[in-house]
């Protein structure tokens, strides 16, 4: 087929036919008889729970499976008329770009410009062509100011964009993305999704995007492919996907769809705009006056604070300069509070938690806290032994395991535990010995615990947070004030925050820009607002349940 014919879209950007694949020494196949096509210029969303085969399908489409990972493969994968199983990822690089979850291992050069230029250099393009391509892709992704920067000075969001630029610089017909927003704040995540849509519309790049937070990208997708246990479970339009997920796998549905489902409204909306249009059609008007957004605190805490920060300043050495990360934080946290600590990448969330845990020293102000158990962003860092019981010996270890519900896994190898169990084990390691009997430390802090988590695992985590914060004695499972810990979770996940938090502290560039009841903070903004809040724009209404109650109340009026 001629180059021109391919460019006109005669061949699919990706054609997978009867693909089955098993990783080396794997007990079961990761992909089972998968057939799917992506047309040129199409934006396809790949949905599914954790370990459903999404990442493996993306790796097969770019040639890493089987060329890099090995294993047994059957079936056919064609990318822009190239046989991806016969051709290696290097040869496929001109036709397909791939962006994985962790941007840190996707940047291999010292500077940004060199990183973006690398695929062109490997291909043998002339220097002038390379310079132009780098310039253009940098402009397209709004990163020309980063070109001269050293890669090791970039933030996670910046690294993600640079990796995307390196994947796009060869002008591939297809771009594959594996949860690219999992480490990004809501603002950067939305920017990335709309950037992909723009590239898709203006450059005609076909996009295959695997993502857990479907509410973020369902509205921009042309089609949704859902996977379950290595098979294609659904393939169709976004609206049809919502109807399917509502019946077959509610964990995959979006908050707006749940809102409509609970309120008995059809059709289920694929995004905020569609939801608002449907509601307008029903005569549901949005409140014209946004002045009063105050929501009374449903759980006022009066106990003495267990964590108190006063005019807290922390500076960090970022290689080339000393940088003020926290700039005069004032904060009081009381026992039993469930707090979502939110803000953009680099706002200071992790630094605040790390300072509370004693990993950083304030340069001014002070922070007073009884005891803190902090789980950092990578739970795997806590696991260094090959048996759970060796990580947590003795009665103190057993008590910590009981807190997280892992007392049955004493003899297991941590590597054999599921992702959620490993996270709970890491938390138990942080808790061990900081409890008096069954009493928890005064503060339990979790830093970005939902990265790469599907909805079902997030629900488990919400249940665990509720147990830690409140209210349940881990031995007798009865109400007990003595076991209450304040739980602070740094998170970018607005929907998750609405599930567990009572209070939201919003940081912006090292200062507290908002601090109040969750329903007030998450219903009063553009980016730090739940999908339901953006649909209804009602003060204090953030969850599908609250929204449905409000809608049915309005209808009844």
């Amino acid at each position: 087929m001629s180059e021109l014919a391919i460019r006109r879209g005669a061949a699919p950007a990706l054609a997978v036919q009867g693909l089955s694949y098993a990783y080396p020494r794997a007990g079961r196949r990761a992909l089972e008889d998968v057939s799917v096509e992506v047309a040129p210029g199409e934006f396809v969303l790949l949905a599914g729970r954790s370990a459903s085969g999404k990442s493996t399908l993306l790796k097969a489409a770019c040639g890493l499976v089987p060329h890099f990972h090995g294993g047994e493969v059957e079936g056919e994968v064609r990318v822009a008329e190239l046989d991806a199983i016969a051709t290696g990822p290097g040869e496929l690089a001109a036709a397909v770009g791939y962006l994985a979850q962790d941007p840190e291992t996707q940047v291999v050069s010292t500077t940004v410009a060199a990183e973006i230029e690398l695929p062109l250099e490997m291909r043998g393009d002339a220097p002038a062509d390379r310079a132009r391509a780098v310039e253009e892709v940098a402009l397209a992704l709004a990163i020309p100011h980063l070109l001269d920067r050293a890669a090791d000075t970039l933030s996670g969001g910046e690294l993600q964009r640079v990796a995307l630029a390196a994947a796009l610089v060869t002008r591939p017909r297809l771009i594959l993305l594996d949860e690219p927003t999992s480490q990004l704040d809501p603002v950067a995540g939305d920017e990335l999704i709309w950037l992909l849509r723009r590239l898709n519309e203006e450059w005609g790049v076909a996009v295959l995007l695997a993502e857990h937070r479907l509410e973020r990208c369902l509205a921009v997708a042309d089609r949704v492919v859902a996977m379950d246990a290595g098979r294609i479970a659904f393939d169709g339009a976004p609206a049809d996907f919502l109807a399917w997920s509502h019946d077959s796998d509610p964990a995959l549905t979006t908050p707006a769809a749940r809102l409509f489902s609970l309120a008995g409204i059809d059709p289920l909306p694929v995004g905020v705009r569609a939801a608002r249009q449907t509601l307008r059609g029903m005569g549901v008007a949005h409140p014209p006056n946004r002045a009063s957004r105050r929501v009374s605190d449903p759980h006022p805490y009066v106990a003495e604070p267990v964590l108190r920060a006063k005019n807290l300043w922390v500076e960090l050495d970022r290689g080339e300069e000393i940088h003020d990360v926290l700039k005069g934080i004032d904060l009081a946290v009381r026992p039993g509070e469930r707090i979502a600590l939110m803000g953009r990448n680099g706002a200071g969330k992790s630094t605040l938690l790390r300072t509370a845990a004693g990993l950083h020293e304030p340069v001014a102000g002070k922070i007073a806290v009884d005891s803190v158990a902090l789980l950092t962003q990578n739970p795997g860092d806590y696991l260094v032994r090959e048996r759970v019981g060796d990580e947590l010996p003795g009665e103190q270890g057993a008590a910590a395991l009981r807190v997280v519900g892992l007392e049955h896994a004493l003899d297991a190898d941590p590597r054999d535990l599921s992702g959620g169990e490993r996270q709970r084990l890491a938390l138990a390691i942080a808790l061990a010995g900081r409890m008096e009997g069954e009493q928890l430390p005064s503060v339990v802090a979790l830093d970005e615990p939902t990265r790469g988590m599907d909805r079902a695992r997030k629900d488990d985590l919400v249940a665990l947070i509720e147990r830690l914060a409140g209210n349940v004695d881990f031995v007798s499972h009865s109400e007990s004030k003595s076991t209450r810990a304040a739980v602070i979770v740094a998170t970018h996940d607005v929907e998750f925050a609405s599930e567990f938090a009572e209070r939201v502290v919003l940081l912006g560039d090292g200062v507290v820009v908002a601090d109040g009841p969750m329903a007030e903070i998450l219903s009063g903004g553009w980016y730090f607002a739940t999908e339901v809040a953006r649909v209804l724009d009602l003060p204090g209404v953030v969850t599908p349940e609250q929204g449905a109650a409000a809608l049915t109340g309005e209808e009844s009026r």
Partner: protein
């Protein structure tokens, strides 16, 4: 914390030149240091290497090079003073030492040691400037057509070192955050965990290199580029220094005797050579007003014109670019 010797992208002729030109220039200064023992020439080479680093913006690296070099120079001076007993100016008689025998410290032995130390000082400063100013990616890519596997290994290592450093810092933090009731983590389990993690990281980085087309045959012919004016400048400086050094050897510019009495040659040939070496240190001088981007791996001809656009660029705003 970043190493003071780590490469930092900057705008400057030394950074914009090809790795070959930069190595030739800095290498020429080092060669002079190994051809000569005359302290005047060695001081001129030290000054030239320092000047080159400062003009290239690598002050931190130059300071680090000085620190390392001074320690080495001091070590050489002390060792030479202890093991060489020649020279007529005895500064101290330290009696009989095991192995060394009678130890008489002479001024001549100290100066000879300092002279050897100056060689080490020139070398460490030049290496520090090289390390801070020459992009390792460009070196590796230049090597790739010659030794692909070695270049791949070096690329993996150069990327994995900072990643492993970050991983090690995270693991140390996690070890500090373990509750007192959890099993303590010694260095060995941490090292094992770091090694296992590094292997995973290496696989990820190797996968990225695969996706970038690293396994493709390096197309050497199309990659070849013309020498930039900075390349020509540094090659010319290297040629000048080496030619002058060889001519100086013929003209006895290295006149230096330490024993029994110190005689340092200050003939016109020596002074001319010193002046030329010093002037070569000005090679990285950037012309005022020009603001050329150095980081393009092949010195592509994209330039940022004028200081106003450069300021805007530093501020992260729009840019004016021109092809020249």
């Amino acid at each position: 914390m970043k190493s003071p010797l780590a490469y930092v992208p900057r705008r400057g002729p030394l950074q914009a030149a090809s790795p070959g030109a930069a190595v030739a220039y800095l290498g020429a200064i080092v060669v002079v240091a190994f051809l000569y023992l005359n302290p005047l020439v060695l001081l001129a080479a030290t000054a030239a290497a320092t000047l080159a680093g400062v003009l290239a913006g690598a002050r931190t690296a130059v300071r680090a090079g000085w620190r390392m070099g001074l320690w080495l120079a001091l070590t050489f001076a002390v060792i030479n003073a202890l093991i060489v007993h020649r020279g007529e100016t005895v500064l101290a008689r330290l009696g009989h030492w095991p192995v060394l025998g009678q130890v008489d410290v002479t001024g001549q032995a100290i100066l000879a040691g300092v002279s050897y130390g100056l060689r080490a000082l020139v070398t460490t400063i030049a290496f520090a400037v090289y390390s801070s100013c020459v992009d390792p990616d460009r070196v590796l890519r230049a090597l790739r057509p010659l030794a692909r596997r070695s270049a791949l290994t070096a690329t993996l290592v150069s990327r994995l070192v900072p990643v492993a450093g970050a991983d090690a810092a995270r693991l140390r933090d996690a070890a500090r955050l373990r509750g007192p009731g959890a099993a303590a983590v010694g260095r060995a389990p941490l090292a094992r965990r770091l090694l296992a993690g590094s292997l995973d990281r290496a696989v990820d980085v190797a996968a990225t290199l695969e996706l970038r087309g690293y396994s493709l045959d390096a197309p050497r012919a199309r990659n070849r580029r013309r020498r930039s004016r900075y390349d020509r400048r540094f090659y010319a400086a290297a040629t000048l220094v080496l030619t002058a050094a060889i001519a100086g050897l013929i003209a006895d510019a290295d006149a230096f005797k330490t024993y029994p009495a110190i005689q340092i040659g200050v003939a016109p040939a020596t002074l001319t050579l010193c002046a030329l070496i010093l002037i070569s240190g000005l090679a990285p001088l950037r012309r005022r007003g020009s603001n050329r981007r150095p980081s393009s791996a092949d010195g592509t001809k994209t330039a940022y014109i004028g200081t106003k656009s450069a300021r805007r660029r530093r501020a992260g705003g729009g840019r004016e670019v021109a092809r020249v």
